[in-house]
Amino acid sequence: MNRLNRLPTLRVNPSEKLTFNYIGSSCQGVKGDTVATALYANDVRIFGRSLKYHRPRGLYSMDGECSNCCVEIDGIPNVRAETTLLRNGMNIRPQNVRKSPDTDIMGFMDKMDWAMPAGFYYRCMHKPAKLWPFFLKQIRKAAGLGRISPDFHMKGRYDEIYPNADVCVIGGGAAGMTAALTAAGQGLRVILLESRPWLGGFFDYRTAEYTPSQEGISRTLCERARELSEQLENAPNVRTFVHTAMIGAYSNNLITAFQTGNKSDAFDERYMEIRAKSVVVATGCIERPLLFDNNDRPGVMQVGCAHRLAQTYGLLPGENAVFSVGHDLGLEAVLDLYDMGVSVACVADVREDGQDPHLLEKLTERKIPFMRGWTAHTAHGSKTLEKVTLSTLSGAQHREFDCDTLVASAGLTPVTGPLTLAQAKLAYDNHTGFFLPEKLPEKMYAAGRMLGLQSPLSIETSGKLAGLSAAADCGTSLEHEIKQTREELRNLAGPVRGSKFVTAPVRGQKSFICFDEDTTVKNIDQAIQAGFDAPELIKRFTAAGTGPGQGGIPGHNLPLLVSQWHTDSGLAVQPTTVRPPLVPTYLATYAGAKHDMCKRTPAYESQKKAGGVMQRAGVWKRARRFSDDIRCQEEVENVRSNVGILDASTLGKFRIFGPDALRALERVYVGDMSKVSEAKIRYSAMCNEDGCLLDDGVVVRRGENDYYFTTSTGRAGQTVEWIRYHARYENWDFSIVNLTDAFGVINLAGPNARKVLEKLTDADVSNAAFPFAGYREFAIRDTIPVRVMRLGFVGELSFELHVPSSFMQTLWELIEDAGKPLGIRNFGLEAQNLLRMEKGHVIIGSESEQRTTLHDLGLGFLWYRDKPQAKTVGAVALRQTEHQEGRLKLIGFRMEDASSRSPKDGSVIVDSTIRGYVCSARHSFALNEPIGMALAEPQLADTDTRLEIFEDSGDDRLYAKVVPMPFYDPEGEKLRI
């Protein structure tokens, strides 16, 4: 197809060719083409097939308000051809067609509409019930437009930015540009967003006269747009983002958008979150579709589509056209297209009067037949348009015209999505026929054509007013200017009268109100008959507006149609809901440049080198084990008989100090914290208000009103806020510091642990000088300060060394070297798990649930009941549940048959019903038989009770018996050597 290549409005470069592939054949487009215009230039008229009826669909609007032109590009489905710029080498395929769009073998579905009234699947497909699975399969096959491969890999770079602005202007037409310039003129930081690849909006493609003007220079609208755009380029504090779709508006003026990059950008798409003090919405209008039979036939297109196809892309929509319009822009398009060589058979206008007389004069000059109060009635043609019937609004008179193009539009409708998302209230306005903002959220303004303005000067002045108002919100005093501009605007042409809502005088079973879902005017009627009152329900019942077009086609017509047919309801005309994203957005774009964040301990590298299998545990990556043996036998036995080291740096570590530090500890720990001393650690627990175990750890006093304590890894992040929360009503004087990352922790454990430590320090670490549960501070190799605790989590002689993180790696290596002659080795979390199980120690979340109290775990002794004045968290519940019956209790068990395997974690304990479950069970190497811990109903808690265990595989039952804990070294002698 030849391009008109001398137009001043042209946005393509016809001399720069781009090559692409369409259904196996190589085609050419030009630089600046969208995929849709390139296909159109290659004589593609049928772009795809509709969802339900497989009707042929073609280019209808230029902004992608429906799924008509959704195509698959390079394996990506549902790409809007109208808004996607053509690139060299694209591989483009149609969607929802068998064979090709022209000869789709599913085309017969179009004859089946009688069998598919609104909601038909609810009413029939379940009868008989045995056929439902068959229907299900058919529904799944038929549903969906595009296809994506489960192995699909999305190429490209996706970025994200979070700019701040004083004023964010959405829409780069004349109003938006003026608003941006005005605000920038006040020295404010402005961000301007425009969805098309250039600024200009409705001015950009039009050569009609722009008539201000004090200067008296005659210019076209297109020239005016480029002038404003140039001024913006030169404004130092405006950041303009073109090809940027605004997708979300949230409270406090958070605006989200995404920008499509061009060749020179470092991103393919980039997600934006803009924090603005105030916002101007100047998103203009889209067209309101005209409702008549076969209004979706390829060859039928909107005014702006035909007009821009010619002016912006240099492509004539067809040779013989008929127009059915409702707005002066339609008449302007008639004249331009006629002058470019399109033959126009007839122009129908739904308006009886109100047209611009100058435009009518020009029609007469060109002898173009013009009919007031007429509308398109039916489009004819089996696949593409061949003929059109026009009729009067009442249907009394008809006329037919042969044509290949029907330019049809009922008028304009404002793009109110951004306002709705920002929680603005809209109301239907009879004069303009628009949904206009009735109440805008704070610091948000609307301007331009979306308010019903038509005259270029009014549009720009409303932009100026909005720009000033937004600037005033940023603290500039502009009362006078605002008042003056408001006056100025009042003296200019106001909102123009919109065309009335009409539907062609047809039965409507082929008048499509929603193209995406193949919803017809008739379907809406059926929904109303079924009792659906509100547009929102009708939308749900008929699916109108729920497709990829985001309601762009039915958004305006649906509420008007419903109110027209449903006059008895007395409901005000309400727009249907709009939801973000306003433009469908790739997950890749939303995800942006995502980073996987996790913390490593200071000894991470050493452990990795030692063969550690590192796995995520909460925010950390930790060594699970150091061999392929998932039972970790060697690691375990080495601790029991020799010495091992474990990196326990993830433990929570805190300093709390100040005159009221003890009070704070008494509030959150269940024990008697006044007994905490300097040479001895005290083990205690924190509970929630229900008396359930939340955390455990040790506390030591390091000076007057100065304590050091540890928490479990999982609670480290919440401990400061927990303590401060429970002190929030008190006027206590204490400080708390989280030292978790400041200290590394090494657990040196096993009967030979002391031999290793002795080599590294002059301090007396003998059992007499440093007994079990003792706390000491000394130096390693005279240099490294350590805080050392004698603890017994794994049940052997063990020293827990807390060391400043910067020394951790050095200390780790010193210990490894010192222990080498003894055969020291790493042990990981899995080995520790078995070692502590043998001692009957619980891990929170493993042997406890949200509802497990201290009493249930047999840890009630930790609770010191005689401190009611401390108002300890959980104390009330501990008192009230102390003797409560029917609670799950922690029990230990061994298998009846000691040679049997251990049951899997999570197996349930049953009789006629479920009585409990296995928390953890392992084969104990020390005892040479399986052991386990379970939470079970209290009647099963007595020693020697037989437990019947049912596993997830549902196979044979296993039998165990309840035994006392600890399983290993019940007297704790090994801790005290």
């Binding site: 489905p77 969906g144 489960p150 995520r616 479950y917």
Partner: protein, 406 residues
């Protein structure tokens, strides 16, 4: 076959007297009304709905159904609930579009796998089909899954539950409304309850903006507004926090996901609806609000999560996100109670995000409760008093995520 459409439910004038008044035209309210009429012969029943039926959670959830709960109290209830969908389809003569695609719940650690094993063992003990799947089987079930090691939370396995699936939420609302109306239930849309009157510890009447209704029985099934209503009208505080929960869909696709996939670690579920959209959600901002507003933060989070474990979806676009209210209790289990402390006053709330799965079966038992005045055994564990007795239910093994603490 296709005669002119009949009204699914009629319009009746508000009467001054009903045997039962149900506040809330959501799933629980409509189901209770339906079963009161169907099973207990009660004829004069009013469902009072401030907006239109299905306006709240009923029309906003993503309608995933399953029966593999964690505790025995829940298992039997949800099992019966799951078995009801095909039965109700036939009974209401309205296709609820039960799509029995099965649910795959992913585990991303050994600990999660153990927790799932407990759920599987419990479910199987009660005859509910469910099994542990290794990563290879997960991949076979959902070929789009990324089972490699190089994601934030590698997949260790999963729990597959074939009898679960999805239902068409709107169809359930309309089907129940149709069924209830046919049995004589009056559905009053656009009617707001303004007060509940109690005399000598007994319910006497309900005030609405359309007039006063005398009644001996009231059910509070107002979803997200239950707790607020309970306190405002009767001074009864409930252990509820009302949060906005969000869900979203992508553009429609030809079949890609054959099962519901969910992941606790990624805080995300995804399934393909019968329209072809990938529906996904799960998150709540942990501060109470009635906005039902969506957030930029969450749609981004969801894209990040899905990018990792279902990476092909990076080439798919989100089309729509929305929010609804979830009334959360401290143990993530509902409150179903009645006649305590006010005779004739019943509560069915605190469902959080489990309200859909259970709606029909709950309606059946709440109807029995309201008709007999005696709490059916099935509902006993869900009493409001459990909170003051420190007997929280164990549906969530760990501590609940939305509370200030976790």
């Amino acid at each position: 076959m296709f005669r002119k459409s009949e009204r699914l439910w009629g319009k009746a004038p508000l009467m001054s007297d009903y045997d039962a008044v149900i506040i809330g035209g959501g799933l629980h309210g409509l189901a209770t009304a339906y079963y009161l009429a169907r099973n207990h012969g009660m004829k004069n029943i009013a469902v009072i709905e401030k907006r239109h039926i299905g306006f709240g959670g009923a029309g906003r959830n993503t309608a995933i159904v399953r029966a593999n709960q964690r505790t025995k109290e829940n298992l039997s209830l949800y099992k019966e609930g799951l078995e009801l969908w095909p039965k109700l389809t036939a009974e209401l003569d309205y296709n609820l579009m039960f799509y029995n695609c099965g649910n795959l719940n992913l585990a991303h650690s050994e600990a999660a796998l153990s927790a799932m094993r407990m759920q599987v063992a419990s479910a199987r003990f009660f005859g509910i089909e469910s099994h542990i799947a290794d990563p290879k089987e997960c991949k076979e079930l959902v070929p789009a899954l990324n089972i490699s090691e190089d994601i934030t939370y590698p997949i260790f396995g999963g729990m597959y539950h074939p009898p679960g699936g999805i239902v068409r939420h709107d169809a359930v609302v309309w089907g129940l409304a149709k069924g209830a109306a046919k049995l004589g239930v009056h559905i009053h849309q656009g009617t707001e309850v303004l007060g509940i009157n109690v005399e000598k510890g007994k319910i006497t009447s309900v005030e609405t903006d359309q007039g006063t209704i005398s009644t001996p029985r009231v059910l509070n099934a107002a979803g997200g507004y239950s707790a607020s209503l309970s306190y405002k009208m009767l001074g009864i505080h409930l252990p509820v926090s009302v949060l906005t929960i969000q869900a979203m869909v992508t553009q429609p696709l030809k079949p890609l996901l054959d099962h519901v996939v969910s992941s606790g670690a990624y805080h995300c579920y995804a399934n393909q609806t019968l329209k072809g959209e990938i529906a996904t959600g799960a998150h709540m901002d942990p501060w109470p609000n009635y906005t039902t507003q969506t957030t930029a933060h969450y749609i981004k989070h969801q894209a990040e999560a899905l990018s990792e474990f279902l990476p092909c979806l990076r080439g798919v676009r989100f089309m729509r996100i929305w929010g609804g209210l979830a009334d959360m209790t401290p143990d993530m289990a509902p409150i179903m109670d009645g006649n305590d402390p006010i005779e004739g006053y019943y509560t069915d709330c605190g469902w959080g995000y489990f309200g859909f799965k259970s709606a029909a079966v709950t309606g059946k038992y709440m109807a029995q409760f309201m008709a007999d005045g005696e709490c059916p055994d099935m509902l006993r564990p869900f009493t409001l008093r459990r909170f003051e007795q420190h007997r929280l239910m164990g549906e969530m093994a760990g501590t609940v995520v939305y509370s200030p603490w976790n």
